[in-house]
Amino acid sequence: MLLAVRKFLASKWAKVFVFLLSLVPLLLLVWRGFRGDLTANPVEFLQHQTGDWTLRFLIFTLCITPFRKLLNLPEVIRFRRMLGLFAFFYVCLHFLTYLGPDQSFNVAGMLKDVAKRPFVTVGFAAFVLLIPMAITSTAGWIRRLGGKRWQALHRSIYICAILGVIHYYWLVKSDIRKPLFYGMLVGILLIWRLAAWFGKPKAPAVAHSVPVRPS
């Protein structure tokens, strides 16, 4: 059973499957759009939906490493880039619903709004921070930057996730259940990393502890 799962996870079909699955939220929105089923305020509905999906995909992406280690499934690392890029895809849609209907595509006006409203500022900052990660997501860029530097850059996803939750929390008027829920998930995922980092024996120590083979 486990072997079959691992075999599937390692196959190219798994990637196709995850890709199509990640498109489902978008297809559902398009479908609802055709049916005229986007509520009385379609713009706001699309803003909220694309924002929700951005946060969810950021969380999916952050789940990969803990999943991989806790379940001992190294294969799932293959999906991390795709999930991260889907987070970026949905945040782009989210940004467009703001730049277009809210700001009438007026970039100067938009930047003023970004500077003035903390809730927009943090959302925009998270969006901007995601851009270099999306650009450097290719194997070529890992090579060019070197693994260490590349990894350091891509740790900014932690900041993006935190900013995303704050953005949501500052948006709602009084019912904070959903932003709190996302905040809790991000919190757990980040604390797990902190714990793993503190719990990890230091690299030199590992080298020293290699048992000397008895001659």
Binding site: T39, A40, N41, P42, V43, E44, P101, D102, S104, D113, K116, R117, P118, F119, V120, W170, L171, K173, S174, D175, I176, R177
Partner: protein, 319 residues
């Protein structure tokens, strides 16, 4: 008098769709004996004035001069996208969760600093004055807006009846609250019952509407049945729904959103494009049914009528 009679008859005459279906299943279940009881019930409701004002009952109205010349929002949009936190915080929640809200019998108590405190039944409220259809702009603090044909009459009609004493300076309103009927309320972050307030001169202003209907019918449950306020120059949350108490008093009453976030929602809450919400601009708004934003008007376009109420006041401070 004719108009009063007409509206009473319109009420007594009509049968709410839902009630009709209930009766049918009731008939099927109980047979003849049940049928006799139900028929009897119907007759009695025709003979004596009805004590019920179900949602979706046609109302007879007279024309009013308070009508903005703008496109009226789609009834379906207005009734399926709104805030009524007692029924949940999502704007689709009220339409879903208020379906079984019991609005009959209903009594509104008008009390406090008045000469003759009184409890009004819904039938009395529906017949105190001719019902007017008024077309108002309605602007939510969340930057969406609608144009609605409300039905009702000026709140001043009721206030004059109870004769405010010289001590009365403010009017406090209270909504109905029943956690059993409104189980979603406690997750919404507000304290209930929902309360609102006006200065007495604001409450006496003819634009301040005691509202019993919209789009030609009694109020749908989700829009604040059976009786609510509509104060068109203030943000939507001032227009308190499903009112059970109106209290005149000498001090400024607490208001729900102000209690929840004092820096964001003031007592006055006049629509003002120049005073931003701390988290977003109030300069623009989106009409339901439209994509792009358009400019928000001072006092929601009612400056000519209400600006004098606030002459000399710093509207930034008293937002």
């Amino acid at each position: 008098m004719l108009i009063k009679l007409a509206s009473v008859l319109a009420l007594a005459d009509s049968t709410r769709k839902e009630a009709y279906f209930n009766r049918r299943s009731f008939l099927r279940g109980l047979g003849i004996a049940g049928a006799a009881t139900v028929v009897g019930e119907r007759f009695s409701s025709l003979l004596s004035p009805s004590t019920t004002a179900f949602a979706g009952t046609k109302l007879t109205t007279i024309k009013s001069n308070y009508r903005v010349d703008e496109k009226i929002s789609s009834e379906n949009d207005v009734t399926h996208y709104n805030n009524f936190y007692e029924f949940g915080s999502d704007k689709g929640d009220p339409a879903k969760n208020a379906q079984n809200f019991r609005t009959s019998p209903w009594v509104v108590s008008v009390e406090g600093e008045v000469k003759t405190p009184r409890k009004f039944s819904m039938d009395e409220i529906l017949t105190l004055a001719p019902l007017e259809e008024r077309i108002y702009r309605h602007r939510c603090v969340e930057r969406w807006s609608i144009v609605v044909p409300w039905i009702g009459y000026s709140l001043s009609t009721v206030l004059k009846l109870v004769e405010p004493s010289p001590k009365a300076k403010y009017v406090a309103f209270e909504s109905f609250y029943d956690p059993k009927q409104m189980p979603q309320a406690r997750y919404t972050g507000l304290a209930y019952p929902y309360v609102e307030g006006l200065r007495l001169d604001e409450a006496m202003h003819p634009l301040a509407l005691l509202c019993v209907g919209m789009y030609g019918e009694t109020l749908p449950n989700q829009d604040g049945a059976p009786v609510r306020m509509v104060i068109p120059w203030k943000y939507g949350y001032k227009s308190i729904k499903s009112i059970v108490k109106i209290r005149l008093q000498s001090s400024e009453p607490p208001t729900s959103w102000n209690r929840q976030a004092p820096n964001e929602y003031g007592f006055y809450s006049n629509v003002n494009p120049n005073v931003d919400h701390p988290r977003w601009s109030q300069a623009t708004e989106r009409r339901l049914g439209e994509i792009y934003m358009h400019k928000t008007l001072m006092f929601n376009g009612y400056s000519d009528q209400v600006a004098s109420l606030y002459s000399g006041m710093d509207l930034k401070k008293f937002h």
